[in-house]
């Protein structure tokens, strides 16, 4: 059994005086895909933001590689890739410039590789078109191009399939599976019916009692 990358112990989160979840414990192991599921408004995105380190209105414990996350923040941040609802694409920049800016603080990547990654997401020929002229799905793909080069062991992907066409969805599913096979850990939230072999699930919004 390999050691978990990220471990949550008794997570509890209250938002706008409403209890989203409590006593939530799980481990994210290398080589797994985990899907966070639950109806609208049960805190899927909030959970992902908590795990990524964006939201700090929670209580409980988060362990990174067995140690408290807040004491290993730099190592955690360096080794975690988070892509949110709003993926950080500047409408005024081209896909290539956007990808370059997103990768720059993480790992040095030559432009050649960036172009390959963009081509891999089906954006060949659009590398130098400002992103505001691209469709929603294409803009999303610029952000997802990071997945083709990212070396972070843990990926946190919020609504990764939004605005992506059917063929694209299949390709991304395959990518996630391949990543797990390589030993990466992936955590996704999605409304699309994702069911990969060996996939784990975290279900929110079931038995949470709203009264204290």
């Amino acid at each position: 059994m390999s050691e978990p990358l990220l471990q949550a112990v008794d997570l509890e989160c209250e938002r706008d005086a409403r209890l989203l979840f409590q006593n939530l414990s799980f481990s994210i192991l290398p080589g797994t895909v985990t899907r966070v599921e639950g109806p609208n408004g049960t805190g899927k995105t909030t959970l992902l933001r908590i795990l990524a380190g964006l939201n700090d209105a929670w209580s409980g414990e988060l362990l990174w590689c067995g140690q408290a996350r807040h004491q290993n923040r730099e190592s955690f941040l360096r080794n975690t890739l988070y892509i949110g609802h709003r993926p950080g694409i500047k409408p005024l920049l081209t896909p290539l410039e956007n990808l370059r800016a997103l990768m720059a603080p993480r790992q040095p990547v030559p432009d050649q590789v960036l172009l390959q990654a963009l081509a891999g997401t089906g954006l060949a020929g659009y590398e130098h078109v400002p992103c505001r002229n691209l469709s929603a799905g294409q803009q999303r793909r610029v952000a997802l191009a990071r997945l083709l080069i990212a070396d972070e062991p843990l990926w946190l992907l919020d609504e990764v399939f939004t605005a992506i066409d059917a063929a694209g969805v299949q390709a991304i599913e395959a990518l996630l599976q391949q990543r797990a096979a390589e030993g990466g850990a992936v955590l996704v939230t999605t409304h699309h019916d994702l069911d990969l072999p060996g996939m784990k699930r975290i279900t929110l919004g079931g038995e949470v009692n709203h009264e204290r």
């Binding site: 938002r15 706008d16 005086a17 209105a57 009264e211 204290r212």
Partner: protein, 247 residues
């Protein structure tokens, strides 16, 4: 020690203590303030330079002094909010900010009215009045920010950051305003500067400062209790307390 600290942070514990102390705070505060004011207005000797208008000092100085110290208290509570995330510190800041605003306004108002018979004008861009005016802005900003953020935890932390930035700035502002004042007008007027004040003047002043402090304590307790009720509605202890008719 740590346990005491923890206890201090518990809204329930505070609620009980505050309820017990409040009548005493109110009674002692009113008594001291009334004594200070009656003494100051009716019995203290006339000032040989300013005449009777100086009697405004017995409310001007207490309001100015407490208005300034409330800002310092809020900034100290801000540290507690940011470092230890103590709920009671959030409540404290939110409850006393409007009190600080009102007292700052009162000190400005009394200062301005005092200026009219003394200097012949309602407003002088004197270093102290200007500093108090800026303090009024700082209070206004903190309250406005608190109102603007819906989530109360985030609001408390954002206000805490603002307060700390403000408290770092206050000495700088004070210093620059004083420098600016000497640059533009040689300061001939000083509000309260006196080489020595006779005891018949400073004793009533001290009484009214103490009295106003105690009344501030009462107001703080009351307003904190209100805020605790709002925030802790869902807890069982508040429910029992409210249904039992205590509070």
């Amino acid at each position: 020690m740590w346990q005491f600290f923890h206890k201090l942070g518990s809204p329930k514990w505070f609620f009980g203590i505050a309820t017990r102390f409040m009548p005493w705070l109110l009674a002692a505060g009113l008594l001291l303030l009334a004594a200070g004011i009656v003494w100051g207005l009716g019995f203290a000797p006339k000032d040989y330079l300013q005449g009777n208008s100086y009697r405004i000092i017995f409310i001007h100085v207490p309001t100015a002094f407490i208005a300034q110290s409330i800002y310092i208290m809020m900034a100290s509570a801000a540290v507690v909010t940011l470092v230890w995330r103590m709920k009671l510190a959030d409540v404290f800041v939110k409850a006393i900010a409007p009190v600080g605003l009102v007292l700052t306004f009162l000190s400005l108002f009394t200062g301005a009215v005092w200026g009219k018979p003394t200097w012949g004008t309602w407003w002088v861009w004197d270093a102290r009045l200007t500093s108090m005016l800026i303090l009024l802005f700082l209070y206004g900003g903190a309250i406005a920010l608190d109102r603007a953020i819906a989530d109360e935890k985030s609001a408390a932390r954002a206000v805490a950051v603002l307060l700390l930035v403000g408290v770092v700035n206050i000495p700088i502002i004070q210093y620059s305003v004083e420098w600016w004042n000497t640059l533009h007008q040689p300061s001939t007027f000083k509000l309260t500067e006196k080489p020595s004040m006779p005891a018949e003047m400073w004793v009533p002043l001290l009484l009214s400062v103490l009295g106003l402090y105690l009344l501030f304590g009462w107001l703080a307790c009351l307003r904190m209790k209100t805020e605790i009720l709002i925030r802790e509605q869902k807890t069982r202890w508040v429910k029992e307390l409210v249904l039992a008719g205590r509070g």
